[in-house]
Structure formats: structure tokens, C-alpha cells
Symmetry: C3
Subunit: 318 residues, 3 copies
């Protein structure tokens, strides 16, 4: 993967994803050893729209590897840069930086950037809010909880029509195989046909659709919650009627397995009650930490900077 | 204090304040030795409203200790983060950072953050412009000039009704004791009763109130100037009549002791004439430097990172 | 130059410019050796208006020398700082930082800052878009391509009336001497008299004026392109008639020498066709990199931090 850009997870093989998860675990338990891995490197975060959580994750990842960070976010952007083509901006920035993380409101911007850049570009979101490192964070969290991302019953709950984060997770889990999906949503917000087709195309994966979280929560190893936006409903009555069905609270948690892991891409509005935060099954804040660890793994890998001691640790395991 | 948050100075004992001042002096004379104290640390500056001077002080402090900085200021903030609860934002950021400095327009925000965070939170201002590290900067400046923060006549001049910086300084000096306060303000902007009560409650402190700076300046060891805002007056005539009384210029400086120290929390408007800047008694720019040094002392202390050589230097003194 | 500010290139002697170019070349081939040159230093970038490209260049320069960066850009600026005098802001910031790069919309702001500051100030643009480090980037690029900045035919094309970048480059090349300028512009946008006088005052420099790029491109060693803004023309017909004359494309490149270097201060709009980017004579992206290298040379020089190995390398050459 050295020197490559990551626009979507199609740019990363399943073997590479497995290696990134292995590296993330290694980094977490060897923070001091890896603290100088990228000491001569500069990351540029080019955020044409602000996305605080994502930007800080990319930046912390590089800083904790010993690298440096430059960049802009939203209103810091000058009018000259606003008028410039993405091609030229990325060409300029690749004179300064060794790697770029870019977020842009327009679909396809990351691909243009990757094609223009002299250094690796990581898509931190273009158009929709889906981006490959969010899915890497999700996978790393499942992996951290279960030691695997296969042989699991994975529930996805909420807006399954527009939730691109969910589509990307389903697609990527299908590449690993052996997942039973439980797709929990109101009828208005069901999973699109092409995503269901993707599951069907995987010989070892299957799905069921459901509308009631309480009825199926007991079957789940993983529950991936997403926000149900009011604007998605045809009328307010439907919204009010359905809303509580998709709110995770202590009462519903009592119906779930003791080993279930609750994930959420954050920010949440009210779809997970605050009372769930202290439940050991709540994994959404460690998902944030895993996102940072996966970005550390990804940044160092794309830069070709080996993690000190990692190769030896793999040999010992083998 | 390791691992604790500092929302107000009530969170810091007088012994701890004394130790912080001692550390600030040590840091100032051992810049190179302390430059790696926090080398594996990340500070997050979460500035929901911009406050350039304060943010740069916190950031420089961490950088000069060898740590790294992430954060946002004002318009860099994404709408998602704006809509998120302080609880969730701080939980997320404490996955990235080892310590947080937060500024927020709403009173009480820092307390909520401290209760939510997994890492220490320092209040960099919530609601009013008072914040504990401003008072620490004030104390360190008095300490640097006089070698003590007691046995002094301290004049506070300007808006004593709404100036929360002044209230915090009075309150903290009363904890150390042996201070004679001279409270200089127009009648419209006198010190509130509860602050006077605080002085009265200190057996070794006392106060007098005055309206004319020139009449009392000759008694002062310390003169703490604050801005008199036009909006505070009932009518413009009063403002125009009184304004000059509270402007410090060379003429008034000639009436003061040769050892007096002039402090100001900055920014100033016109309440200290530029001609005073070159007077050796002007201490307001060294107050800025002392603020940075106290933040270095506070950050390293809350993180539990010992300053190299400091413990030994204390033993030698003892 | 140690401890001095650079408001214009009048603050830098030709001998110093030559030394900076020599340092920039050394830095480029000794990236690892110089990576700790300014390890105890802090740069403050005070950008009262955003200028992404310039800010990132100054910041990367300091980071690649091992230093740290604080600062603000545009909307990050707090209202208090907005209302404060430049004098006070710079006095405050010079308590934190060892060197300042400032950009300000008002002409003269950099001079005020330099006079107020306790540390060196580099003008990153005030009023117009001209600033001394842009010209240093231009010179370093000519030097990198030809091994000299003299004995060259230098064409400048586009808006020569309002293009302050071009005026500064002409002025500085005249200080070195032995340059034949070809000034290519529409009649509405000819070089001002005082700039022509400056060339005439140099005994070894000369100029010709032209309106047709194609007619003269074959004579040029350097072609410095600038943008022709529509707003500069009296009527749209003239603009449309003349526009293409000043667009550099492959057809015109075929008329040029194989060794010609094409420079542009960026951002471009459409005055250089994208097809030219892959021509080895296109030097505008390496001009960006040279800008960063010259800022590394300048920052380390003003701070008095010697580049490891540089002095010895000069002795070997001598």
C-alpha cells in the first residue's frame, strides 16, 4: 500500500484491512515504541468543510506517530484557494506535505485529489458522510471486542436507506464473509436493493429485515445504531409513532446478550439514551479511539514507515 | 493535583498555587531542561468562541513542554459538533487527548466538561471572561516582582462591579492573606458586597474604597488596571466626566512608588496610555509571559509529568 | 540578519539573498540533517486575512526545521484581538513565540508589527499581495534552474501595471544586474514608469516592451506568467480580444527554448493551460517547494540557528 491513495475501501484488499487491524492492536499496546514512527513526516488536513471529530482523529494519529500537521478547516480557507481547482491546490500542498487527508462537500473530489497528488491522499469524506476510515474504525471495534469480524450476527438499526456508513460496513463485512445481518428500520427507511444484492452475492452471508429493535436485539452480537432523521419521514405522525422504536435505552439493553457490542458512528442525537453510556456493552467511545488507532496504522502504512518492533512481533506470532 | 480538572481556583489549594508559582519560576530559568517534559502528550484546545490570546498561551505552554496540540477555535467548529452535547464532544476528545483546555460562552460548561471527561479539563473561560489561569498569571506576576503575594498594598482600578478577573484576584489574594486592598472606581462601578464580605472575612486583609486614582496611587505596591466600558454608565456625560480619572498615564505614574507594578489582564483599550509601556513598572506584557509559564506548570502538574531537575532543586533550597 | 525583521526585500542585502539561496539548496539535499535546527523554537503565524498557501508554507518550513507553530487565520481571530492594536497583539505574541509571520489587509501593518515586536517579524503580505518571501521563491527557482539569477532574458507576461509580485521581482533582479527584461502586456496593463526607471538605473539591465507573447517567447530563458484580471479592462470586447494572447498553451510552448523555465506565483485561473503542467519547462510547482525552502533558510537565519553541516559545506566549496 506504500504511496497509494485511499479513496474508498475498494483501494484496500481484505488482507490489507486485516493487517491494518493487527497494526492498530499493536499500536495500542506499544504507544511509546511507535511514537517516533513518522518523525520526519508532515500530514496536511484539507477540510473544505469542517468535520471536527474526523479532522482531530487524523491529526492526533499523525502527532502520536511523531509527525507534524498542517492544514485548514472551513472558514480558515482563503478565497484564492476556494477559487483554485482541487488539482492545483493538491499539487501545491503535495510540495509541503508527505500525506493528505481531505474532506470536501462534492462527491468525487477525493478521486480528483488522488489523481493530482504527488503524495498519498486519504478520503476523509466527499459528498456524503461515508468515508473509508469510518468503516475501518467500525471493523477495528468489532475486532477488538470479538477477536474477529466474521461468524457474527450484526444488527444495523435506524436509517438504512440513506445511511452510507451502514452501506459501507455491510459491503466490507461481506468481503470477509460469514455474517448474518439483521436490518432493523422503519418501512420508509429500508436497506436499498443494491445493498441487499451485495449480501446475496456473498455465499456465506445472509440477512433478515425487521422493524422492531426489541424483537430482535436478543439475537445480536453487534448492534450498529444510526440516527433516524425527522426530515426523512413523509409526515410527523409517522415520525413520532416510530421514533421510540429506534431509541436504545436500558430497557432494550436488558433484552440483549451480555456480550453484545453497541456501535454508533457519532454524533448521536437521542437514539442512544445517556443511561446506556456506562453499560460495558457500549462501545461507541472506544470506536472513536479505534478510529484514531486505525488512522495511525493507515498513515504509517501509506507512508512506508514501519512500526518499530511490529514485524518481529508478527514473526513471534507466526 | 494529578488527573484533576481545574474549573475554578477552588479546585487548587493555596499550597498548590504556591507550588505552581515555584514551578513557573523554575521553568523560566530552565527552558531547555523542561522542553521534553510532556513529550508524549496531546493537549486539545476546544474553543467554542475564539479567544486568541488565551488559546495561544495554552498551546505554546504545551508545545514548549514538548507536547502536541490539536483543537478548534470558533468558525472551525463543524455543525455536527455544534449540535452535539458537551458531554459527548468531551468524551470523544478525551479519546484523542491527554488534557483539555476549554472555552465556552455558557456559564457552567467547564464543569459539565470536567464531569464528562476521562482526562483533566482546564477552564479557559465559560460565560464571563474570568478563568482560573488568568488569576494564576496575575499572582505569578506579583510573585515575580515582589517575591511574595502577601504584605502588599494592592490597588484595583476601573470597573470593579462587573470585572470578574478582579473579583477572582481579590478572592485568591485573601486566601494568602495580609493584603491591603485599595478599590478605585466610579460610584457606578463599585465592588459588590459579597466581594467586600470576602475581604472582611479574612482576618489579615482590609480594604479602602476610593474614586480618584491620583489621590491613592502613591500608596500602592501593585496597581491592577481594568477597562471602564462606556456601556456601563447611565449617561454619556458621566462617562466623559469620569473617563480620564481612570486612565493611567505618565503624569499619574510620577505620583507612584518607584517599585510599583502595573498589571492589566489585556486587551486594553485606552485605559493605559502607550507612553507607560516603556516604564519599568509596566508589568502587563510580562504578565502575559507569566501566564504562559503558569500554564506550563499547571499542564505538567495535572498530567503528572515531573519537571526534570525540579524536585532536586527544591531539596537544595530546603 | 539574526534578530532582524523582514518587511520588504530592502531589509535583505544581495549578499544575504545569495546566502539564503545557497542555504535553500543545502536544505533541499540535507533534509534529515536540518530537521532539528530550530527544535526549541515557536513560530506564530498571524494571518488577519486567510492566505492558505502562504500560511502553510511558513508553517511547514518551521515544522521541517523541528520547530513548533501557533497562530490564527481569518475567522479564528477573536473579536478582542480584532479590536486590539497591532502593537499590543504583537507585543503579546512575542511573549509566546520566537518569530512571527504576519499577513494583514492594511498596507504598513508589517512595519508597525516589526517596530512593536520583541522578536523578528516576516511580512507575509500587507495591503497588496506582494511579499518578500514570494520574490525569494521566484529567485530560488531561477537559481535552481540556471545556477544563477543573472545573464538571463526574463519575460514577464500579463498584468504588469498592478502585479506587485512582478515589480518586486524586477526590482530585485536589478540589484543582481545583467538581466534583459521582456515586458509582455496589453497596452492597458503596461509596466509603470517608476519600474522602468529602476531598470534604466541599473547599468547592466535593459528592457523591451511587447504585446504579443508568441512573437517574443523564443527569446526567453524565464517566462513569468501572471493573471490578467477581467476587471482591469475598460470594456469586455478588449478583454475577449486580448485574453487568449496571454494564455500559455502547448502551441506557444513549441515556440520556446527547450531550457526555458515557466514561473507563476499561483493561484492561476486559466492563463496557463493544464496541458503545460507536464512539460518539463513548467517550474511553477517547484516554485512552491522553493518558497518553502527559502522560508526554512530565512526562518533559521533570522533566529540565528545554524544549519548543521552548512558552514563546513561552504568551507569545502571555498
Amino acid at each position: 500500500m506504500v504511496g497509494k491513495s485511499v479513496v474508498t475501501l475498494d483501494d484496500v484488499s481484505t488482507a490489507d484491512i486485516t493487517d491494518l487491524m493487527s497494526k492498530a492492536r499493536y499500536i495500542d499496546s506499544h504507544r511509546r515504541q511507535v511514537a517516533g514512527t513518522c518523525s520526519s513526516r508532515v500530514l496536511a488536513t484539507l477540510f473544505y468543510e469542517p468535520s471536527t471529530r474526523t479532522r482531530l482523529s487524523f491529526e492526533t494519529a499523525m502527532l502520536r506517530l511523531g509527525g507534524k500537521v498542517i492544514g485548514f478547516a472551513g472558514a480558515q480557507l482563503s478565497s484564492a484557494t476556494k477559487g483554485e481547482t482541487i488539482h492545483d491546490t493538491v499539487k501545491v500542498v503535495s510540495q509541503y506535505a508527505d500525506i493528505i487527508a481531505m474532506r470536501h462537500p462534492k462527491e468525487g473530489a477525493a478521486l480528483v485529489a488522488a489523481q493530482s497528488s504527488d503524495v498519498p491522499v486519504i478520503n476523509a469524506g466527499d459528498g456524503g458522510h461515508m468515508h473509508p476510515t469510518q468503516t475501518l474504525a467500525d471493523l477495528a471495534t468489532i475486532d477488538a471486542r470479538f477477536g474477529r469480524v466474521t461468524d457474527l450476527t450484526v444488527g444495523l438499526c435506524g436509517d438504512l436507506t440513506f445511511g452510507r456508513t451502514v452501506h459501507s460496513l455491510i459491503e466490507t463485512l461481506c468481503r470477509f464473509g460469514n455474517v448474518r445481518f439483521v436490518l432493523i428500520s422503519p418501512n420508509e427507511l429500508k436497506t436499498p436493493r443494491y445493498v441487499l444484492d451485495r449480501i446475496d452475492a456473498s455465499p456465506t452471508c445472509s440477512y433478515v429485515e425487521a422493524t422492531d429493535l426489541s424483537a430482535v436485539i436478543g439475537d445480536l452480537d453487534v448492534l450498529y445504531m444510526t440516527r433516524v432523521q425527522k426530515e426523512r419521514f413523509f409526515n410527523e405522525d409517522d415520525y413520532l409513532r416510530l421514533r421510540d422504536t429506534y431509541i436504545l435505552d436500558e430497557a432494550k439493553m436488558r433484552l440483549a446478550k451480555p456480550t453484545m457490542a453497541v456501535l454508533h458512528p457519532l454524533p448521536r442525537v437521542n437514539e442512544i439514551a445517556a443511561e446506556v453510556d456506562n453499560d460495558p456493552r457500549a462501545a461507541y467511545f472506544e470506536q472513536v479511539r479505534n478510529g484514531m488507532l486505525m488512522r495511525m496504522a493507515l498513515e504509517s502504512t501509506l507512508l512506508g514507515d514501519p512500526l518499530p518492533g511490529y514485524a518481529q512481533s508478527k514473526e513471534v506470532q507466526a
